[in-house]
Symmetry: C2
Subunit: 306 residues, 2 copies
Amino acid sequence: MAERTAQRLTKPEEYAKLLDRFDTYLLDCDGVIWTGPTLVPGVADVLTMLRAKGKNILFVTNNAKKSREMYKKAFDGFGIQASVEEIFGSAYASAIYLSKILKFPADKKVYVIGEEGIEQELKSVGIQFTGGTDPEDRVFIPSGDYSSIKNDPSIGAVLCGFDMYVNYKKYAKAHTYITNNPGCEFILTNADPTYPAGGAFFPGSGSMSAPLRFSTKKTPTIIGKPHTHMMETILAAHDFNPERTIMIGDNLETDILFGINSNITTLLVMTGVTHEAQLSGENKSDTVPDYIVQSMGDFAVLADKK
Amino acid sequence: MAERTAQRLTKPEEYAKLLDRFDTYLLDCDGVIWTGPTLVPGVADVLTMLRAKGKNILFVTNNAKKSREMYKKAFDGFGIQASVEEIFGSAYASAIYLSKILKFPADKKVYVIGEEGIEQELKSVGIQFTGGTDPEDRVFIPSGDYSSIKNDPSIGAVLCGFDMYVNYKKYAKAHTYITNNPGCEFILTNADPTYPAGGAFFPGSGSMSAPLRFSTKKTPTIIGKPHTHMMETILAAHDFNPERTIMIGDNLETDILFGINSNITTLLVMTGVTHEAQLSGENKSDTVPDYIVQSMGDFAVLADKK
């Protein structure tokens, strides 16, 4: 089998040809549109140009801290046009997975390890939940005192996302529900091992849920990229031709693999977490995009020429 | 290769023959001597009998919450004779591993995810540490605020045990030290997925450290059973003939595998976590002890006959 190789685009005519081929643009955000607090140069113009050409733009992010409403505020802060309907975050996708795919029973509750964003999205689809930001679960319990950990048979799913207030009580409760309640679902918004902040990396959603994978020995359902439940969510809301759709991201193991798993074309940008060393030589990643550009902003050269 | 089968002992003459064969008894505690707050019937008499026969008794526990001094108090509470020198816990073994095997530098510090027991044992071998029970690290940091997470180049090892006060700040600090400090050791007192309390199971030390395994992608050094660093610690302090030594425990995956990994004879007791279904049939464990008795207390029949 011939080894897949990526095509690196550097010329305006190559950019133009790519834009001709695709109608729908699935865009990761952090590392593509912005890096932390900074907008990637040229990207605002590129997005304006894509809209002017009548392209569909959808923002697909594993960020599980924010609801779509909260994420829209991030776009507003950068002065970038985006509607709530165009934003697909892993918190929202998890809520849709529970309501549409699992048809989660109205009399059951979801135990949340996560923050406001997940709660907002569960509310938006009418699913009951406990845990999350409840102050009762944002505490340290005295060492050796398990008296506050009781099973609750009304819990039908444990949903884990990113939670800066994670603690032993939350883990012990979630472990108890998963191991005691028959059929209790174990769902992760996403399994990103790290979370980028201020130029460094810290434990991410996938790491926060690791204690439960290890203690329950259960395999969770993972919603976010590179898993395809995220694509099911997008397809449930938007009609598009996969052959004329491209996934654009900075992360080989989430964005690009998501595109490959979903059978759509992929474009890697080098403004985020991927290093050149992952693209060739002995540390080359097994995940190979169809195309590579240095930056999403490189397409701005076409906007200038209009 | 013939399949290993365990010999089940039920008769006084079989018990007597076993006692004749072994001089040194390595005993797990919870599930063997006591189960939670309850002493296993007959065990106190059996230990008295073993001492009367001049046997060496060593208590080998993965419990990382307690120092040897703290563990001795548990024996005192049950009215069972035990000296600090006879107790080998994973907190102590980790301290010995750092000081004797790694020769941990005097000017470096260990970052502790754990409680008082680990701190006491590090102090006992003169190793500097931070984290642990420090109130500064028993806090929740505001969501998205990483300002308190700075690297500290003086941290030369991260040691994780059981910590009911685990939180994101501790994980983020430990992640930063492991990934930023060249040569920083990543050590787990033990990797038990669960911890038994009040007849139920909750996330254990191995689960508490899982976020760091996942976020750093580093393989930690594991000290406790079934890993053999624990045996190195025991052998550093006590001289005994492995051929006349037996490991007695209730857990196939820790105690019995530890004996097998250390090339000593093993005896499984059924007063702890192992179920009959793990000993035969389709769910049979790959880990097979040399001997099985219902309870350590069964040996008391020999004490009665004296």
